[in-house]
């Protein structure tokens, strides 16, 4: 497979960007200041949470996109087991890495948010917090597994199973606040209740859009890095074969001699 990437003169890609990803990046670069503007200036304070509500515009989108990222990992894993194609494996890996970053951001922004609102950084008894952390750790394990030396296929297969099992967590994290109403401080789904003000709602949507862009942009780049690095691994293949074949050089002559003599009896 070949990407439309920016190539240097010798035909090797010297970046993972292409014209379209640069456009995407540009949108992102413009979008972030707009989001900041809306989040900090235009949108109103909350009655109960005061200025802290502004974390909503980061916290919730990154949480949602960590779900999506892990979902993509699971999908990539399933397709890998089915088609055994490197494309799906690379997708799964790339998405898991981004998912871990987003999930980490969810935890961090949540903690920061928790400090003023709940008066604590962390609450062990809270199911959503802990299930989120478990999901985070599970995919850390996934990434650890990907570092283990093994043949690419074996590693991909093992990682695929772990990736699939990991997504069992998504519904648990998502539903946790309803299943365990009395063991959480965490917000129930406030969006579906429709009690957000217009501008807040708009800013929230804007935030989601920006993080969607961020996910796609990161994903494309990370995928390309993964793809190129596996290609790089294969780069020396021809040379390695030749070198290995050459090991036989000296012996071949000796054996040819032996065969003239009638071979070992």
């Amino acid at each position: 497979m070949k990407f439309k990437t920016i190539e240097s003169r010798d035909g090797q890609p010297n970046a993972t960007s292409s014209r379209s990803t640069r456009f995407l990046g540009l949108c992102l670069a413009l979008g972030v200041p707009i989001l900041v503007l809306f989040a900090f200036v235009f949108s109103p304070k909350d009655d109960t949470m005061d200025d802290a509500v502004r974390l909503l515009y980061v916290h919730v989108p990154v949480a949602i996109f960590s779900y999506i990222a892990f979902g993509v990992t699971a999908m990539g894993s399933i397709f890998y087991l089915w088609k055994q194609s490197r494309w799906w494996d690379t997708t799964a890996h790339a998405s898991a890495e981004i998912g871990v970053i987003f999930c980490g951001l969810t935890l961090v922004t949540g903690s920061i948010w928790g400090r003023p609102t709940w008066n604590t950084w962390w609450e062990w008894g809270d199911v959503r917090l802990v299930t989120t952390l478990v999901m985070f750790l599970m995919f850390i394990g996934y990434l650890a597994l990907r570092q283990v030396p093994a043949t690419p296929h074996v590693r991909a297969k093992r990682a695929a199973i772990v990736g699939i099992v990991g997504t069992i967590n998504i519904p648990i994290v998502n539903r946790s606040v309803e299943w365990w109403e009395n063991s959480t401080l965490h917000q129930q789904s406030s969006l579906t209740d429709g009690n957000l003000e217009d501008l807040t709602l708009f800013t929230w949507f804007l935030g989601t859009l920006i993080f969607a862009l961020a996910y796609v942009w990161l994903m494309i780049h990370r995928f390309r890095v993964g793809w190129l690095s596996s290609e790089h691994d294969a780069l020396g293949y021809g040379a390695a074969i030749e070198e290995r074949k050459a090991e036989a050089g000296i012996d071949t002559e000796a054996q040819a001699q032996a065969s003239e003599d009638g071979g070992p009896q």
Binding site: L137, A144, L145, T151, K157, V165
Partner: protein
Amino acid sequence: MEFRDAWAIASKDLRIELRSRILTNQIAPYTLLILVLFGFALDADTQTLRDTGPGLFWVAVLLIALLAIQRAVKIEDDDAAKERMLLTPVHSSSVFLGKAIALFIQLFVLEILLFFVMLALFDLSVEDPLLICVSAVLATIGVASSGTLYGVIAAGVGVRETLLPILLLPVLAPIAIGATRTFGDAFGRVDADGWAWFGLLSVFAVVYTVLGMLAYGQLMEDA
């Protein structure tokens, strides 16, 4: 899949365990130690201990399960027996089932033992024995199945000892949490709906067993 094969594999694993007397001489005391350690680390009064009893019980079960799973993987890894198994007509789901059954039996025996120790130490009284029994069985099925599955994922990589816990603990944690809540309810100490949690445990048990039987072959394939 043939159940006869699964049973042959399970009894082989159990025989190896019995021969090395791991269960009685090593894991059982280890379990006790863990409880004592916790007691010390917490330094809590009886009331707290009573509340945390079920939690400690399941944390102890998890740590024991880790040990038992490590053993189960090691047995197959040590002298390439895993590879040899591939050159037999035995179906991989039988292998999975066999190893999971052996693990289940070992864990269950230990849990019974641990249970009575816990009753005595923490001075708890059982309000719903049925719930205790069925939830323990299902949680243990979940642990044994996911443990067997993850055991083969970590097998043969040289860094098995450390990789396995990381992969496995987040998988086992939800099971332990569920079981803790059911136990809490069954002991009448927590105001949780034990049977709802029990449902969660059943889901885990079924999912991991089915997943294991399907995926085990894929995973065993390559060393």
